[in-house]
Assembly symmetry: C2
Homo-oligomer: 300 residues x 2
């Protein structure tokens, strides 16, 4: 089933206890690469004139990624520089240059507008709403968000949450949005804002799914070789949505498996900088790790 | 199979966003009450002259708890007063009066010394070692610890870890003990100190088991009515050890189920102050919640 992601493409400079790299980043890069394990994915984003051909090749060389929605704009590409703490549970943004991404009003190409599964990567809720309304008849729409929009565009974000089917956000964002200090209560309060489901990402502590059918918590896959957490959340979303688009269903049981696929693909991403671990992985690597997670969680 | 717990009995004063109570506390109270769902448990501890008869009745009225190891000493009972943060993920100790617990050198009664399953609640490693050596031929020995002993009796704690089969500790303690900032690496490093298994408790984020057969993470049961987190860790240990003693085995699969029983019994404990939620629960309540957790985690 057709899946589209609208999000950022970036040149990242990442500093972790394991080293420092300048590399391909951005929510749409991680999402699309991971989703492409499961089936075709359409990518809408913008790059500047300085975007390295090598980075474009990484995405273009992947037959399941349709890059015809990448807009090449005059100017410079979105750049982010960040440094992780010793335990890699927190990070400090050292530099952000939005550049061409700052003025980007996504135009979803006409041949993408029939997409059934839609992921709106982190952007202003106004932009996300404009993008969403370009899709003709979606089946499952999911958005990401961040602290900045919760502060500065709270009304617009609440409007967006009424129009999407689902939202993925991290625990501090959920607590900020709802003013509920406990994760379970915060998740249920986000659900009351409109979406059919809410996924709260907790980094190394896994993720929790909230639907009107109940709450499901999932631990993360135990990673022994953590190198760079960048892109874990977008990889999670890519695995989740990629699987849902593949099986073309969205009941509670499919969602749990989708979250598990999100979990294992994110666990691969963080084992190297940028997309390098993903580039060296296949769908069978993903499935093998899924099976490990399933066995780990089995209480039979 | 015979199970003994050696730990504290306390008069707690607990302040949470849900209220304030003076109530029965102590590691051995929680552990024994929870373990008694699964089979007989022998309790070794000390109380002072001020220990309320009501509190003693709670333990004595439970036919599966053998209270003949409770020592009545002249002086006052161990008292702890603590206040939880708004999200209840952290707490501040406002007062500690060790009283009779401070000088307590546990004498395990002769008729308890044939116990096969042994839980050494949080105490100084010297005291825990002395206690352990009173048990004649144990099958499975497990200890708890805390930051104070990691700082002040590090060598003795490392000796203890060579002599027990397992240890339960929380994530900050594991990181403090090993100087490894990431949980997975910290857990593996504790395993290298000697025990056959390590359980790292992560509060609302669940628990992770480390054995030489692998790593298993388990989320917590999603509690929607958190009232008082006191005793969650000791309840977890009580459920885990109670189940292991009941099934009289300790392979990786039994351990996973034991952790799940620890998780669900802890989830009951935190839904009311002190032991009140446990007092109003039965083994079938525990089993029903276990089944919910098992279904939640099933990826079939």
């Amino acid at each position: 089933m057709s899946l589209v992601v609208v999000g950022s493409l970036a040149i990242d400079q990442v500093v972790t206890p394991k080293g420092e790299r300048e590399c391909l980043g951005g929510s749409a890069s991680y999402f699309a690469y991971v989703a492409s394990y499961f089936g075709p994915v359409r990518l809408v984003g913008v790059v500047g004139e300085d975007f390295p051909k090598d980075y474009l090749d990484i995405l273009e060389s992947r037959s399941n990624i349709d890059v015809s929605g990448i807009h090449h704009a005059p100017g410079k590409t979105f750049r982010w520089k960040g440094k992780y703490s010793e335990d890699m549970n927190s990070r400090e943004t050292l530099e952000v240059h939005l550049n061409v991404f700052g003025e980007f009003r996504p135009q979803v190409p006409d041949h993408f507008r029939d997409s059934k599964f839609v992921f709106l990567g982190n952007a202003s809720p106004v932009t996300q709403l404009e993008t969403l309304r370009q899709i003709r008849n979606p089946k499952l729409t999911v958005c990401d968000t961040m602290d900045l929009w919760i502060e500065t565009q709270n009304d617009e974000l609440r409007q967006l949450l009424k129009e999407v089917d689902g939202v993925v956000l991290n625990n501090s964002e959920a607590e900020q949005l709802t003013q509920k200090p406990q994760l379970v209560n915060a998740g249920m309060a986000v659900l009351e804002m409109g979406p059919e489901f809410v996924v709260i990402k907790k980094g190394e502590h896994g993720a929790t799914l909230f639907t009107r059918d109940g709450i499901s918590a999932l631990p993360s896959y135990p990673v022994t070789n953590l190198v760079d957490p960048t892109g874990a959340g977008d990889s999670f979303a890519g695995g989740m949505m990629g699987y849902l688009a593949q099986v073309d269903t969205a009941d509670h049981s499919a969602f749990k498996k989708a979250m598990a696929y999100g979990t294992v693909t994110a666990s691969l991403t963080v084992e190297d900088f940028s997309l390098y671990r993903l580039i060296n992985s296949t769908r069978s690597d993903v499935d093998a790790r899924f099976k490990e997670l399933r066995d780990m969680l089995s209480l039979d």
